[in-house]
């Protein structure tokens, strides 16, 4: 008479307990010469240090990308990348894009139809015709 254990691995529920920011790296690319990088360069000079200090969990990389439009590239824990082109944007608009990438989960954008997604079983249970009594049999 033995009970055996079935092997299982615990599943992550980010935010229950600890929260891990999913963006792990932001790469800022700019061009020294071209005018489309003007806002980006101003952002790097004036805002980036504060931004990095506010987000200690994100690795910040700055590198030139000559003769191209400026971009911000976010790398995520799910091994995906998101790239946003910030050509001709002003400083605050660049900041907005950086925050957008920081807050993203890295997943593909998909339509969420259910209001709640959960690993837990339903608290209310599943309706059963064998357990409902009297008139309630037909009430769902």
């Amino acid at each position: 008479m033995v009970v055996r254990g079935l092997q299982a691995v615990s599943k992550a529920q980010n935010g229950v307990g600890a929260f891990i920011l999913q963006c792990k790296r932001l790469e800022f690319n700019y061009c020294e010469m071209s005018g489309s990088s003007r806002g980006m360069k101003a952002f790097l000079k004036t805002r980036l240090a504060t931004f990095a200090k506010e987000n200690p969990g994100v690795e910040i990389v700055v590198s030139p990308r000559p003769k191209k439009h400026p971009i911000i590239r976010g790398s995520y824990i799910n091994k995906r990348e998101k790239v946003v082109c910030v050509r001709n944007l002003e400083v605050l608009q660049v900041l907005q894009k950086a925050e957008l990438l920081r807050d993203a989960s890295g997943d593909k954008i998909k339509k969420i139809n259910k209001p709640v997604q959960s690993l837990n079983d339903s608290v209310r249970g599943i309706w059963s015709p064998y357990h409902a009594k009297g008139e309630d049999v037909y009430k769902v």
Binding site: V3, R4, S10, I60, N120, Y130
Partner: protein
């Protein structure tokens, strides 16, 4: 622009020490030209608050004029893994530190050391072996305590499985991957300290040869408990499929050289990180908080870990042991007995009290499911008010404490 933007020149003037106090030599960085020019800049104010070493008085010479050929406390002259980038200079490592919200008391050097697997660096004071052992004990302490207080009647086998589900190598590897830790392709001097370094198992190596590896990737003969892998035709057949490149890699790996898999190395890193929290960030209370936040907050359905062999018989024995009346299965509802889709609802009763209920497409199936439900109801008992975890009093011995229920255990016979 790095986030920790300290120049190499400044960093050279600071004596680096690893966690246990042994100086880490910077063979590759130190040269005579460096030592002459950088002697003036003795003050190094680290931007990172988690600077691993206290600044020395300037009277102590911190730069050796001539690079030593061997390290003190070192048995081998080669400096295999210590990267040329210092832990405090790695943006990846600092980001990992920030992502885990580790306190400033937790030095980057310890986190960097936790990322070095024993298979990458055999020097004991440079790898995470000791930290990992300590972390394993701490994780086992908090997980077993949590499970035993939460489910006092869990059978031993299920307790072991649940422990494995929370802190087994697979689960801890998933934790580490969820932290965004990446692995270096191969260990070496030039690797960023923020990457996990370990020696990979050569492709084609059977899993049973990997230390701590689980499972066999080679089909075994039935009824043969200890297969002979060395002279086994099925092993030879599996190895015959390998390409010349794989074979060369496998044979290039010396027999005594350790290698491990990404999962095992990642699990070992997570254990070492927990140990670092214990050592630097406030002892047991902080460790408990960390383990509960990162490991025990994950979802594991204990309900689905059970596999009974003879549930009806076990329920019967349980009722004898506990002095209940013998369980009787009663048909409660049924529909379509003579159709293709019959449904039977069977309740199992001990006297007047209903112990469990099951639904099945045949009477025996429903009866067995009812017994399983009754047994799970017994084994998964959890105190309603929630008993205190004994570790509550770890940092605060004066706190009021209500002891946990200790059950007589699972049914034996």
């Amino acid at each position: 622009m790095r986030r920790v933007s300290r120049s190499t020149w400044d960093s050279l003037t600071v004596p680096r020490r690893c966690v246990c106090g042994h100086p880490i030599r910077l063979n590759d960085l130190l040269s005579s030209s460096f030592s002459t020019s950088s002697s003036s800049s003795s003050s190094s104010s680290s931007l990172s608050p988690a600077s691993p070493s206290p600044s020395r008085p300037s009277s102590i010479p911190t730069i050796r004029s001539k690079p030593q050929t061997t390290r003190p406390f070192s048995t081998t002259p080669s400096l295999a893994v210590i990267p040329s980038l210092l832990p405090t200079q790695s943006a990846k490592l600092a980001a990992l530190h920030g992502r885990l919200e580790l306190p400033n008391k937790y030095p980057l050097a310890t986190l960097g050391r936790a990322l070095i697997d024993p298979t990458a660096e055999s020097e004991h004071h440079l790898n995470n072996d000791g930290l990992s052992n300590l972390g394993n004990v701490l994780l086992g302490y908090y997980t077993s305590e949590y499970l035993m207080v939460q489910y006092p009647r869990l059978p031993y086998e299920i307790l072991k499985t649940a422990m494995n589900g929370y802190i087994g190598p697979e689960a801890l590897a998933a934790v580490g991957t969820g932290w965004g830790v990446e692995a270096a392709f191969a260990p070496g001097e030039t690797v960023d300290p923020g990457l996990l370094q370990f020696n990979r198992v050569a492709p084609g190596t059977p899993m049973y040869k990997v230390q701590g590896g689980v499972g066999f990737n080679i089909p075994r003969k039935r009824n043969k408990m200890v297969p002979n892998f060395e002279n086994n035709p099925s092993v030879d057949a599996a190895l015959a499929d390998e390409t010349p490149g794989m074979k060369a890699a496998r044979e290039a790996q010396r027999s005594g050289q350790d290698a491990t898999t990404l999962h095992l190395a990642m699990a070992s890193f997570v254990r070492a990180t927990v140990a670092g929290v214990y050592l630097h960030a406030g002892g047991l209370p902080a460790t408990k908080e960390f383990v509960h936040a990162h490991v025990l907050s994950r979802k594991l359905d204990i309900n689905r870990l059970f596999q009974f062999e003879q549930p009806t018989r076990e329920l019967s024995r349980l009722c004898v042991r506990e002095g209940f009346q013998q369980p009787i299965a009663r048909l409660e509802k049924e529909t379509g007995r003579y159709s293709r889709h019959a449904v039977f609802i069977v309740g199992v009763y001990s006297g007047e009290e209903k112990l469990g209920e099951g639904q099945g497409s045949s009477l025996p199936e429903a009866k067995i499911k009812a017994a399983i439900s009754a047994l799970k109801g017994w084994y998964l008992y959890s105190p309603v008010t929630g008993a205190d975890l004994p570790s509550k009093t770890d940092g605060h011995p004066g706190l009021p404490f209500s002891p946990a229920v200790v059950d007589v255990g699972d049914v034996v016979s």
